[in-house]
Symmetry: C2
Subunit: 224 residues, 2 copies
């Protein structure tokens, strides 16, 4: 039996025990569905067929049906998916309903861009504070937040629940800072410092963002 | 014959005709290799074995050997890869040596963050200008560039080669702007406006960046 079939069997077995089990491969694709479903909702589209969604997302209709089957929420053949239901269900699985809180470490241009964007709010995440170590920035107001000193971080983490730290600080200091954050009990790091951070041994999960990778793919496509 | 074997055979056949053919699956992974190889070079590491690279990158050594075999540049068993050679070769394939030029459209926080970062220079891309349509920003100096008005863009594109436009402007205006850029002859779009742009029918390639997707994956990992 190849590993794909084994996964499938395991998936099926699991879904018997626990209706909300979703395989890791599907999980990886869910944020993209979530994004498209939100756009549909914003345009007041409440029902969509797998065929229509397929055209929109450039994914085969059969892939969509496979991915979304486990969520239910769709009626008879030809009736299409209930967009609002699916959006809610996917959000729930991805942790949107957990009401996570986040702080931004590094209040330079990128930190400010993120603080001003709807990126947290849209995913049910409360941004609660911005930190920096530069006297030029500390005390300034950015998007309604007064930037705090890094010296206040430990105290802040003691008095407030912080699930996620967004790392928009220089590469040279990011590793040391990440270690400190882990020791303060922060369990999620969203790292923009274009270097790989791995603190799984401290029970911390990290998403390392590498924006340059997509720029290189773009360059490659331009050479073809 | 399964599709993987077919790809393999085709790859082998192609590499007989043309030594620099690399399969799309490998291409997709190259930016990540490029990034790690740069870090090695920065740390004066000039040779690395597939085993060491495997540990560093959390990829199996056999995957690495498969991916990098087509580039040559490695000596006898146990001698390891020539880091500088591989870095140069991968850069060449990804278009680094094409000396592409780019402009940033939208000089808000994200545009400024990108302009100040080494993200272009590191990939052999010349950032030549920043544009905005806000009178508050036009004429201001950002990272050594005087922000130009969007009204000057068409003229600028006539007098200068522009390969890539970086779209760091609001979602509400990005589609219209992208169409205009395509009509001005720009062939590559790097889109940060968190909406999907597809102008392949105009011969334009686009990389749509969705930073929120990795944030959602992080949230999901936090719920486990």
């Amino acid at each position: 039996m190849n590993s794909e079939n084994r996964d499938k069997l395991r998936d099926e077995a699991s879904s018997d025990e626990n209706k909300s089990y979703v395989s890791p491969a599907v999980i990886k694709r869910l944020p993209r569905y979530y994004r498209y479903l939100r756009e549909l909702l914003q345009n007041d589209i409440l029902r969509i067929s797998s065929g229509e969604l397929s055209k929109l997302m450039h994914v085969t209709a059969s892939q969509i049906r496979q991915d979304l089957n486990c969520f239910g929420g769709f009626g008879q053949q030809g009736y299409g998916y209930n967009v609002k239901y699916l959006y809610g269900k996917i959000g729930e699985i991805l942790g949107v309903s957990h009401n996570f809180s986040a702080v931004i470490i590094g209040s330079g241009n990128l930190g400010r861009a993120l603080a001003a964007s709807p990126i947290f709010e849209r995913r049910g995440i409360r941004l609660t504070a911005l930190f920096d170590n530069s006297p030029d920035v500390i005390g300034k107001e950015i998007s309604g937040y007064t930037v705090k000193s890094m010296d206040e971080l430990e105290e802040y983490c003691k008095n407030n629940t912080v699930n996620i730290a967004v790392l928009t600080l220089p590469k040279t200091v990011v590793r040391e800072t990440a270690e400190q954050l882990a020791d303060m009990g922060i369990k999620g790091l969203w790292n923009f410092a274009s270097t790989e951070i791995d603190l799984t041994h401290k029970g911390v999960v990290t998403q390392n963002v590498h924006m340059g990778d997509s720029l290189m793919t773009l360059c490659y496509e331009l050479t073809k």
